[in-house]
Assembly symmetry: D2
């Protein structure tokens, strides 16, 4: 993994700034012969696209993806796939203030301290806009997964907004696509709508927790000791803007469990081993068990808020800053398709790694 590249064999390199001419992703290592058209990627980009409800930023971006290379007559050729998304809504607003003042909780100050230069327009490289490139790359991964792991599905959803968590007893997969928060708990969606609307009107923001589940993944993905599946999932999610925590299965709650409570007991089923529970989140020793792979991450609240915050200027003067403009009151909403995309990239990457080292067939059998 280098600075702007993610993955071992299915490698994505993203590039571009929020208000430059374009952003994009280069995918290297894609298997050949996979049907791929821009429209297949667009569906995922449209889920992440700003301005789809009053709960996301009102910036208007078509987020139309163009495939510039690596596809011939509708099929991947095994060569690099370049995907470009032009930036269309670069309002000619004055960035003078945020070019001079650092927003507390934002990457402005660290980019400045590291590089001595930064593109302040719309957050530049640190803008959440970068995640559109991830979604495009994840769309490619999904198409490959269709051919390599036909029964596999990847679904993300919100399980907490601010202090309000969902009720797992109300979990309904079918609800996820029916509310603007991608949540499986319809009652939570109602509550959050009101809560977030109030927050939005007050110019505030709030954090969230997103969960991504991979169903139908084969056992055996991952590897000791640093190339673990959970290591790469953790890196993938933590690399998303604003993420501050990552959990696999029980996550932080595993600390409170005893060995007895944490053990996922095993019994033979008709198609191999079955488990009484899934505290492990589908991963043991860094390798998938064949159960659902469950990863969860927390997104902090957007730092761009209307309430004045104390800060300093580049020239070292104490001042205050208020961030006007179009911002997400809960950036966690749009993080859902991003988390799915990163999971798709990691799973595909590990499928390829596994195929490289061990081959296509099942290796160890039980029974």
């Amino acid at each position: 993994m280098s600075l702007n590249t993610f993955g071992h064999l299915f490698r994505i390199t993203t590039w571009g700034e929020s208000h430059g001419p374009a952003i994009g992703a280069t995918v290297d290592g894609c298997p050949p012969g996979v049907t791929l058209e821009a429209a297949m990627l667009q569906q995922w980009l449209d889920r992440r696209k700003p301005g789809t409800s009053k709960f996301t930023t009102q910036r208007r971006e078509a987020d139309a993806v163009e495939i510039l290379s690596g596809v011939y007559e509708g099929q991947t050729t095994g060569t690099p796939i370049q995907m470009m998304i032009r930036n269309t809504d670069q309002r000619s607003k004055d960035y003078g203030e945020i070019a001079e003042k650092f927003r507390p909780g934002h990457a402005d100050i660290t980019y400045h301290l590291k590089y001595g230069i930064r593109d302040p327009r719309g957050g530049g490289r640190s803008s959440a806009r970068e995640t559109a490139s991830r979604v495009a790359a994840g769309g490619v991964a999904r198409e490959v997964l269709k051919t390599l792991a036909p029964g596999l599905s990847i679904t993300g959803y919100m399980v907490q907004m601010g202090p309000h968590a969902i009720n797992r007893a109300r979990f309904d997969w079918d609800q996820i696509d029916r509310n603007p928060f991608w949540t499986p708990d319809a009652a939570a969606a109602d509550l959050w709508a009101q809560y977030l609307d109030d927050l939005r009107k007050s110019g505030s923001s709030v954090g969230a927790v997103v969960e991504v589940v991979v169903r139908g993944a084969p056992a055996g993905l991952g590897a000791p000791v640093y190339g673990k599946l959970d290591t790469d999932l953790a890196a993938a999610m933590m690399s998303i803007n604003a993420v501050k925590g990552v959990e696999i299965g029980e996550g932080m709650a595993a600390a409170a469990l005893t060995g007895e409570a944490n053990a996922d007991e095993i019994r033979m089923g008709p198609n191999g081993p079955e488990y009484s529970s899934n505290h492990a989140g589908g991963i043991l020793g860094g390798i998938s068990t064949g159960q659902d792979i469950v990863v969860r991450f927390a997104v902090k609240p957007t730092s761009s808020i209307l309430t004045p915050r104390k800060t300093v200027t580049k020239s070292g003067e104490n001042t205050e800053i208020v961030t006007k403009g179009r911002h997400d009151p809960c950036v966690g909403i749009r993080a859902v398709p991003v988390g799915e995309a990163m999971a798709a990239c990691v799973i595909l990457d590990h499928l390829l790694l596994h195929r490289a080292q061990v081959g296509d067939g099942p290796r160890g059998v039980i029974g």
Copy 2:
């Protein structure tokens, strides 16, 4: 990062199984001219060593590290440093049962499903014994950090055992070395001692939360977008055996905060910007701010317990398993020096990455 290697420029590759002839770590990319002797590494290994209190496994291992290469007349030469730790306590016990039955919650089953073969003796490659190699490598990183970042310190400690968290109001750095749990809360240490002793006697086990703090790290470490400092810290910690969750700063709790509450406000101090709080855990946009870097991880309970658990055999029969033998009732204790070691490797790696791209001097100044 490949399967058994961690790091970009300061790269550690660990090797070896619990009951093979030896385990070890190869460090590549170490700066030359750094004073290094085995004794400097041994002090850290001694902290992780089993059998130092009744709260850790009674396996007796000297864990004596030998430096086989890369050091000449007490100084690193810039070439690979090979560190070997011989396995001395490989009891000639019968591993027949765990060779045939899979321990629930253990990597036995996934190694088998992936590779079709595994070394069952003492957990083989998936044994926590591997972490001794990490501690040795972390010891090298610490010696280099002494020369490259003289004021920097890295300290790990336990903040939760089972359901019992420390009281932050009682946090005392000086307590950390004074109890067998490396905890800054003396009262928690007393409580945990009783709690864990009971648990140990009943043959059970429990999870824990470990926090590692890096003080005195310069601003500017890390890089967008995948080479973030927090990405690498998350990967480093999640790669440790039994870790199920990783947090930076507020971590999962960031989800519940509003933008106002989460903002670390900035004011000019005598030596540059100062912050009113550290919700960010010292990292913004993947780059260090100069504040304390705070990373936290949850360790699940050891899967080896005396209570019978349902499982299956390699040949597919339902059965039960009880894991006798010497095991850690709370493996989180020994994870403290391991977390420190991984943090040391990540910080040094990013210091080298930063020096490569931006040079030695400060780049962006404020004021």
Copy 3:
């Protein structure tokens, strides 16, 4: 190094096919604060551009490079630099024949055998057009080198065309820019002009040898044992289309020398050690000595010729093929700026690697 990426820290990823919408290069790891504009890159692209003399392909491409990211107000920001070159001269010719028949000596057949699919238009990904992306990336490297190693220069030139080598006694640096072959031997240029014109008219092609010299590089670049400077130079040059051999210093001729003849004797000069000769090509043990770094590579003749050659079709029938169209009679000419570009990337990459591991200052001194 992954499939389409080159470099350790200064990493270039190229993408695009000859007749797709565009080609380009993503540069990651570029130091910040370096002045960069498209015009600075264009000068190098113009040297490689087809159609500048009758000795190169008559394909007309503006090869205009656009910088899409990583530069703000004329300075690099340290984030990925995306450079795109649109393909403008994609003649709507019939590619039916080369889509069905494999050109002997061309990558058509191996792409087909590997991937089962290939973009046949203009050679697709295997087209020499890919090298324009390298030249753009090399242009970025050159601008960075201006700031990190001010006295350093990189110059490529042809030393052999077909069977006709230059006479080293006539070597004149000033001639290199004065003939269409970038050769330092004016007499050779005259000879080659006649030779190549005849060859071109007959529809044939011929190979060449290109030499690249790096003057003013500091001692200490490179590293044992696999990250050697010569290893990376060899990889860089061998990765260029049509290259079949790479030499450092004496190269293959070193085999014929005795130890006495090969020794570059050392004497103290006013500014440090000086050498009586440079058989080593400026590299000992994989590390630069401070002398001129000399690398040389052979380019095979273009496989696209007018003389019919025996081949087979995709469906397995024996047939013949004649490659009409616009092709370089001696592709070695346009390989000169490509070799320079790759050398620039390697040298910069190793400057950054050295700075990472050892720091900015001189490490070992003599005297």
Copy 4:
């Protein structure tokens, strides 16, 4: 590829100095379930071992390899394989002179200039002794290749010693194992024996050319544009001590050919395409054709000779040096098994890469 690691998926990391306690290689990414014992590796190490004839250094090293990890009950487990070779013949000689004076043509001076410190005993890390680790790693690769590509063979041999090349008309595969030079030309062996004996007695040394041929490799190994098979072979060979040039197929001689002469014409044979010649050395566009893969490299003469050479001391004084002691008059002889080992590693690595991206089966078919 990092400093001391080679390979993408089958990764070897070598460590150790000539006169330290041991040297070795860590192999990561090895497929599981491959039969492996130390004796299988020892046979290759014995070919490289010093002191087997009067034509190699008289240093006596058993070069006995121990497998410390990654193998269980005689089978690879898929985890890192650590191979250690103890150094047994570290004569307690005085290294004072070469610690102070730099041998012309040797890495002494560049290690000093880069790192400011070096292990001078026996050349330290720059000693040809490091290549024993490569041979061990190559031995592992060979065992894996037996299972993944059963018909594949890798054979190295000398084709030139000093100015004396073999006569290709006398090429006889069966001769290679019958003379101390691993040459297929028995008459050359006789000539070289006399030539080298004279050279050895006079305390001189000479270079050589080694060729390695891979027979039976499948088509489709390699990848555009930087992960080419020839790129990696070039890097692999150039990374060997003393190598100054690498060629694929026609190599440097390709420059002198016309397109007609260079074309390997294609005809359908009973099992697919056949070629009229192999100028390409089995690689087109970076991907194997299925023909013999032919790589050749030149080794310079050992710099350790009895004739005094001018040099300088660490303190900057002009002086002379004579290198006494045990040295190879033609280090190219022992480079033969090293070249084979590196070829084995590269071929296996690309088999795994291909399996990852494209799968096990043939992809593109002809006919």
